[in-house]
Symmetry: C2
Subunit: 125 residues, 2 copies
DNA sequence: ATACTGTTATATAATCAATATAACAGTTAA
DNA sequence: TTAACTGTTATATTGATTATATAACAGTAT
């Protein structure tokens, strides 16, 4: 498994791990029922404490992305893409909320933001 | 000065204070050269430690919003609205960036996000 | 002098993030 | 059954951040 961890990031390491695994599951780089590396193996691989890996895996299980069984390991859960999508739409709404309130306070034009938006959407493939 | 502080928020108190003062300066509720309440007065008013108020004021000075002089007090700095706007546009860009990357990973339609965007912009007066 | 301003230093406490280590428990295959 | 893997739990320690309290110090103004 390929993970890139930044120590200088303000995002906690366990969240970096969690987020990257979620992305890989959703991109189907990690397929349903596929085994994740064991927490000890991953810990050794990326030189991060076992407990930190466990915290990431625990949250992934709580959020329904993986299933963990003592003695066996962790496996990609059957995914409920629609549910995940709904969660993410809420996240998007929060971002938009912040954009709207900043724009109001600073008198930034709706059109200007909208154009920036369209530009950035098309910018990346 | 009216400030609303939430103890249950995950946003630190000193940041809540800072953000609300910035908003008031930008809305011209606090005008150039106007005196802010002394850190001790504000501390007593809103029942927050002097040191926490000081931290908020220190950051406001670092960011150019106020000027503080020992023995005199703190005053609203001459504001450079264009500069502040530029800062805030960068913040908006970061939010859009996150929206775009979420949308790509989850295959959320650009149009769907755009519509949500327009709706939320018009939603509040 | 007095009464305001802000400043600095110290100590304490709570929480979060990360680490290390050890002992415990389930699974599997030689 | 033992060995070698899995994950689990508990404990302790470290460092950073946030917030508090208190006291002593320093500048300004009347």
């Amino acid at each position: 498994m390929k993970l890139i961890i930044s120590n200088s990031s303000n995002v906690p390491i366990y969240e970096q791990i969690k987020n990257q695994i979620i992305d890989q599951i959703l991109k189907d780089d990690l397929k349903e029922d596929e085994a994740l590396p064991s927490i000890r193996t991953l810990s050794a691989d990326i030189k991060i404490s076992v407990m930190t890996i466990k915290k990431a895996y625990d949250e992934l299980e709580k959020e329904g992305y993986i299933i963990t069984r003592q003695g066996k390991g962790s496996f990609v859960a059957p995914k409920n893409l629609e549910l995940a999508k709904e969660e993410k739409k809420k996240e998007i709404e929060e971002h938009i909320n912040k954009i709207v309130s900043i724009s109001k306070i600073y008198n930034i034009d709706e059109k200007e933001v909208l154009d920036l938006f369209k530009y950035m959407f098309e910018g990346e493939s």
